[in-house]
Amino acid sequence: MKKIILFSAFALLSFQMYSQDKGIDLDVLRAPSSPASNLLGIATTDIDKPTDISSFMVSVQSASNSFTAFPSNYGIDLSPYYLFAKGSTDFTTKGLQDKDFKNIFKQTFVISLAISNPDSSNTALNYKSTYGGLGFKFSISRGEYDSITKAKLDSIIVKQDKINKLSMQAMEDWLNDNDENYRSLLKQREDLMKGVTNPDDIKKIIESDKYKKIEAQLSDMLANFKKSDKEKALLGEINAIAATFQTQRIGFSWDVNGGISSEFRNRNFENSKVYNAGIWTNFGYTNKKGFAFLGLIRYLYNPDKILALDNNVNTQKDVSTLDTGGRIAYSKSQSKFSCSAEAIYRSVLNGNAIDPSWKLIFNADYSILKNQKLTFSFGRDFDGTIHKDGNLIAALTLIAGFGNKK
């Protein structure tokens, strides 16, 4: 298993380099709420609210150390269908409204990797070890865009259509214009191709510098059309709607998550053990006012962390637990602020040597900039005895994405 996790880490890091070459924007940010982060306990919440995915998400988390130390937690999520199977489904806002499972699966399927290098202040993980997690996630149902989201999209589409009509007319006028230079370049290009009918030979010519140069000149002529006042006005109107646009979904949602994680003792990749593995589902309903009522059912194998026993090593081997939980989340449509409260009850399935335990946590987060988010978590782990004190959970977390501020 450790080889799979290590291989995945290298593959994803290699892919990061590849994606930079391909011009994929890495300036993407979400709280590390991926399955791999959940398994390592570095997610800001255990019960995820359904959101639209990123094609490639990298997150870095710095918490509880006055932001002075180098971040210790990293999460990488990627959407294989978006990155490797272009055209297999529609990832625009149009396609993201599809309701059939085949498309929902392709659009929401995410592979995630998380790495945690806990410091000595971390009571849940061994600070002498490195932890790596590999997970997956997909939706079965995800609700639909709310009325504000739909109305804004409709308005954008109407204006885009007007721009297209202007652009089509401009191109037709250009093609009928018989510009001498344009005609000359067209002839030069066709002369290069005359008599070449073999696909391999065609490929060689269209990849030649001479062909590319002619085509670039022809294409530049199209690109350099002067924008009309009407088009400029439409672009401004669209920007006024789109600049602060955010999608908000309402209705029933249902996700499936799973994964496995390893602990690399003494940060030695030759000395590892399975830290935990599990499969879980999130489900719930989000209403028009922005309130989401969510549930969690999660099976975990061999969890070292028994909520209220964070400070103690779990001495019982091969523990299986079943978590059930609920969360109420609030985020107003098109808003940068969201908050939630969640409770999770953990029961031990094999044997009764360990008491059930539970956790309460409050979360709030605010998007400061496009690639920076501040999250605040506050709560407590409790064991089965109500009067006994549990462990305080409090963290102010800055999550920063890679890339430029825009």
């Binding site: 011009g23 994929i24 924007d25 300036d27 993407v28 940010l29 639209d52 990123s54 094609s55 998400m57 959407s79 978006y82 272009k86 055209g87 529609d90 990832f91 625009t92 806002t93 149009k94 396609g95 999209l153 954008i156 589409i157 885009q160 259509d161 721009i163 297209n164 652009s167 089509m168 401009a170 191109m171 093609l175 067209l186 290009r189 066709e190 191709m193 009918t197 065609i202 490929k203 269209i206 085509e215 022809l218 294409s219 530049d220 002529m221 199209l222 690109a223 088009e231 672009l235 669209i238 920007n239 006024a240 709607i241 789109a242 602060t244 646009f245 955010q246 998007s367 496009k370 825009k406």
Partner: protein, 125 residues
């Protein structure tokens, strides 16, 4: 094509056969909003297509000889995760399959890119 480009004037290679040619249009990136028009005089007239166009038969090779496909696609940055926009036109069924990828990053949140394409159906024989 590794550089940003929002306009394309190119060729697609057809022959004298009755083999059907299909058009596919892919727009993006993830979470962006797109609308396009596409036209081939007397053969195709697509208007206000929102999102992608799955592979769609246009007509046969010989009927396309000398025809011109013009396409205008407008993509707005409605994603808060990326400023990347892209348009990919795929033509299949002619002498060979060809994909024409175009992309551009918008400078500001909510900006819009208008892509313009002219594709001439050329019989090289």
């Amino acid at each position: 094509m590794n550089e940003e480009r929002t306009a394309l004037d190119t060729l697609y290679f057809v022959n004298d056969s009755n083999k059907k040619v299909s058009l596919e249009v892919i727009t993006g990136g993830l979470g962006q909003t797109s609308t396009f028009d596409a036209k081939i005089d007397g053969i195709l007239d697509l208007q206000k297509i929102n999102g992608n166009l799955p592979p769609t038969v246009i007509t046969d090779n010989k009927s396309l000889k000398g025809k011109v496909l013009i396409l205008s696609c407008t993509i707005t940055d409605t994603s808060r995760d990326t400023n990347y926009t892209e348009l990919r036109i795929r033509l299949n069924g002619g002498i060979m399959f060809l994909e024409y990828p175009l992309f551009a990053n918008v400078e500001k949140e909510g900006d819009t890119v208008n892509y313009r394409c002219v594709i001439r159906f050329f019989n090289p024989s």
